[in-house]
Assembly symmetry: D3
Homo-oligomer: 235 residues x 6
Amino acid sequence: MPFDPRSLAPNTPGYVVQNIERAESAIIDGLGKAGVATVHEAQGRIGLLSSHMRPIYAGALIAGSAVTISSPPGDNWMLHVAIEQLQEGDVLVLSPTSPCDDGYFGDLLATSAMARGCRGLIIDGGVRDTKDLQEMGFPVWSKAVCAQGTVKETLGSVNVPVVCAGALIEPGDVIVADDDGVCVVKRNRAAAVLTKAEERVANEEAKRQRLASGELGLDIYGMRERLAEKGLKYV
Amino acid sequence: MPFDPRSLAPNTPGYVVQNIERAESAIIDGLGKAGVATVHEAQGRIGLLSSHMRPIYAGALIAGSAVTISSPPGDNWMLHVAIEQLQEGDVLVLSPTSPCDDGYFGDLLATSAMARGCRGLIIDGGVRDTKDLQEMGFPVWSKAVCAQGTVKETLGSVNVPVVCAGALIEPGDVIVADDDGVCVVKRNRAAAVLTKAEERVANEEAKRQRLASGELGLDIYGMRERLAEKGLKYV
Amino acid sequence: MPFDPRSLAPNTPGYVVQNIERAESAIIDGLGKAGVATVHEAQGRIGLLSSHMRPIYAGALIAGSAVTISSPPGDNWMLHVAIEQLQEGDVLVLSPTSPCDDGYFGDLLATSAMARGCRGLIIDGGVRDTKDLQEMGFPVWSKAVCAQGTVKETLGSVNVPVVCAGALIEPGDVIVADDDGVCVVKRNRAAAVLTKAEERVANEEAKRQRLASGELGLDIYGMRERLAEKGLKYV
Amino acid sequence: MPFDPRSLAPNTPGYVVQNIERAESAIIDGLGKAGVATVHEAQGRIGLLSSHMRPIYAGALIAGSAVTISSPPGDNWMLHVAIEQLQEGDVLVLSPTSPCDDGYFGDLLATSAMARGCRGLIIDGGVRDTKDLQEMGFPVWSKAVCAQGTVKETLGSVNVPVVCAGALIEPGDVIVADDDGVCVVKRNRAAAVLTKAEERVANEEAKRQRLASGELGLDIYGMRERLAEKGLKYV
Amino acid sequence: MPFDPRSLAPNTPGYVVQNIERAESAIIDGLGKAGVATVHEAQGRIGLLSSHMRPIYAGALIAGSAVTISSPPGDNWMLHVAIEQLQEGDVLVLSPTSPCDDGYFGDLLATSAMARGCRGLIIDGGVRDTKDLQEMGFPVWSKAVCAQGTVKETLGSVNVPVVCAGALIEPGDVIVADDDGVCVVKRNRAAAVLTKAEERVANEEAKRQRLASGELGLDIYGMRERLAEKGLKYV
Amino acid sequence: MPFDPRSLAPNTPGYVVQNIERAESAIIDGLGKAGVATVHEAQGRIGLLSSHMRPIYAGALIAGSAVTISSPPGDNWMLHVAIEQLQEGDVLVLSPTSPCDDGYFGDLLATSAMARGCRGLIIDGGVRDTKDLQEMGFPVWSKAVCAQGTVKETLGSVNVPVVCAGALIEPGDVIVADDDGVCVVKRNRAAAVLTKAEERVANEEAKRQRLASGELGLDIYGMRERLAEKGLKYV
């Protein structure tokens, strides 16, 4: 029986979990196409990371399987360990064990991660070499941009559950990220969420056309009666 | 006698004021041309919203009449109500009744607002679908970008006075917004402020040429004597 | 003996130091070419300004000699005084004496500074007219963008040591700034730091190629043994 | 006809309004007795200042008539002007025209204000000499405690409308402040709000006894049916 | 087989889990006696909530079993639902589904919670009536103190896993809180953590005496050699 | 010639400077008696640390000679090194090399520091065991209270210049701290600043009596004429 990383408390230090399960790539790509806002709605408004997580450049859109990293403040040793665990289509997710804006990641690590098929980095900390990263097409969502370097002295973990920017992320969960932020979908819910997301997209397209023609949401959604019941006064 | 929304305390819930007065469109457009920094100076350095209000994309410049919205945290019901009140050239201004970064507004609401001639949104909260909004050319100045959705359960108000990002905004006031931020001009002062803003623009152009030629502000503004009186020591 | 501005306590008001020493321009330009992250590493991870200092537009990269300004909150009088002290290749560095986001600087001051060869502004406060500044090609790293103007009433100082965004900056120190942030290099260490930065750039290029080919940092840096000694468990 | 300060835009500089209307002292004292949370609920959940406004010491509870001050950042000149306008039972309310944490107020100004019957200070900025102020029994609600002094160079205003910590406050409005924060009640609504607040206090006392005896809010407020309708699942 | 709340994604709305397992009360009380800093060290420096969680009054120290609440912003309906689920020795833990400082909890809810044996509240939001709460001896650790009230309109959940102030908390986990902050211990690790915490307390007492007598940590912990190896220079 | 720590750039790692000069104890104690606000004014409004530095308990007042520490984020090794350098009457001053709220210091280190005559700690980071520290009478001014522990892996420095909370502090400078915050006085200016501080105290006492009797600052300071010149309108 493979080791179950979910049995570890979030951010437990000292472990590298090597065999993690991932969602099917067609599902992952489908979620990526739907985008963060739609996926977040489709799964019942859960799983969003804090809005302080911002892309280092506009326009990127990714989805992939989370390879998680728990790192001490100012120490990026575990990033090197994590890169060995990457597979094509993965996304690195780094959570410092206490708040830290240091630049854990730059163009050399990105070169290494891209060589292994990594699609991007989600980091509740800092990143540097942002101009190079944009030229390389390696997207990052981070709390800060900061040139401050890090040391390699203290163990953290790779592929244990982490709390990152206010969301629980377990290894192999699906990460979706775009200009609106970052959302996590539990691996075993990914197929169901995709179905709902696609329904939502179809449904929205019909509404968009009605709204574009000047019809009001008040009428499309039938809100007038309930507003009156609540006592809204037009004066 | 029409209902005077100014008789209501800011953010009083439960009202939709339907007939609001607006400034003349020529004045509004003139203020837009002058831009935020100039308008703010021209009216005596008042009316600026907090600097945490940032555009979702660079380069937009709008001016319009405020249609104000007071909304509970995490509840965007009143946005649907407000869209019905929009006229060509209006700007939506949303103030949550307590701090909230949720994404109150996205591409569907923008489609509806644009269908009624709305020029943009000022929101002391969050917005989502920012990539779509940029493609649609619908500018937003907000406190946050956030995919977190909202509910439609609790009444707020439309076209009552609101305090938004530190400024009092009354329905029909003129909003000017560009990369420097957002400024409000009282409706009944708009013409006077425009006159001063235009004087200021003309005056600045002359100074710009002198400064570009290498002349110093110390000399143009005659500051040397007063600096010496204050005791400035050159060493 | 020329007045030594380093004898003054940081932000001492009332002084303009006129003759400051600068580093050689070849050294300054070399540091600029290396960029902030490399320079910061090369000098032992010191001298970085706080990560709240962000460029008003992406892609700028400058290096220059600091002309420092200590200013009261909401008062930009000393900027006019400082511009007279600028030489070709200088960078303005403004530190308010208490936190303030007001827009101390806009397009007119930029016009004047550019006429004297100034390469940019570092300000732990606010700036305005950012669209104009970008069109003029005058880069600014600031804490805020804010249209709020300032007065000209109270003395500060020019070319005294200042603490700006968490770093001590003395007049004539070398400032390097790019998308990753802002770093200061002591004038008398600039040549030594450049040597180390250039070694670092060369060294990184070799590593980049190995990493791009799929070799792991774990192996290139020989980390596996030490990780095992620390007790890292692969499961 | 006396000058109506409400005709001025918030924070308009250069005015001292000398004759302001105040609420009756019995009403003011009644509101003080009810406390901030009750008053805020009683007037429909409006008028609360931002929660960053904290008391410098616990346990104080005041109510009084607002004497408002609009001050430039780092400039407390208008405080001296305002003290002359104080009457027995007034509360000073200071709003900087841009964010500033400087210590505008200390024990000397408190001595002067107390000599004129002032009950406390509400300041969206900084205060100093806090130990002395506590010993004197002069309560302050502020954004910051900061020893940084201020200058006296630039005009603001006294008794014009101000936006302070996110709330519109007009001269003569009733201020209530305690450990829960600060609330403003429009002068002409004060009597009506007091009536509702007193009803609320009576009503709460009955509920408190039922809850203390172990009865559940679910039953007292009859919530079970509506929760079931909304679909709450007990598992 | 009882429903396993751990099968739900954090903050899944719409559920009340009624039968949760708790740790033994002797273990809980032992952890409380050790205090937050010791417990946090004893379990390997994990489980600490963000340092923005502060007690509303100094000196309180509690430990108890978590009854968790996931609530929409500005909506405290689920608190009423949660109180029914309380047992003697429990601690309420509330996580808003998006950041919100509103005052979800005050003296009436505290009266009800105390009637059921609740030991305190951990809330990543706001609380009000703090003076009453202190007089009642009901401790709260919160992000904010805020008089702003809430509505009762939208479902959340009770006793599902929540991410609260950066930590994953599952129903029945042990919460320890004192002036240093708040820490969560997984229920099934509580006994083991207590053992380590008690060892730590004993060990610390011996060290305290040596340090008090003037012996240096450098010698007690044998640090001098390793510092020399790292290259520390005494000058 | 003793090593001059001032020749090192702020926060240069790897050094312990053993012989530092201190101000005379009578001067230090005099400055402590004057308090932070007075000392800060007396030296021309410079040297104040950021207002985010707050005491862990109210009422403490200290003055002493700075023993400075530069520490990596999440690493308190240098505190142990610094304690050996303490002399009777010293104050520890710790500046992390990048922002970090971790609890670098607790009751064991305080026991050790007190055994060597240390008067308190100034730390732009976190502290824990605050209840114990208060009982021991060991005051701390910090950015955060946080139970998160630290490691001992990476060198920093002791008694090099540091930038701490926005102020440059050199070893042996005089630190004054009370409820209003923390101020640094350059060692070689301490005597002069004391003289001015004492004049200021005497002067303030006279003013306090006049103000207490109801005389106005407007008259005592002769402000009326200048206000009129600036154009202040009484209406």
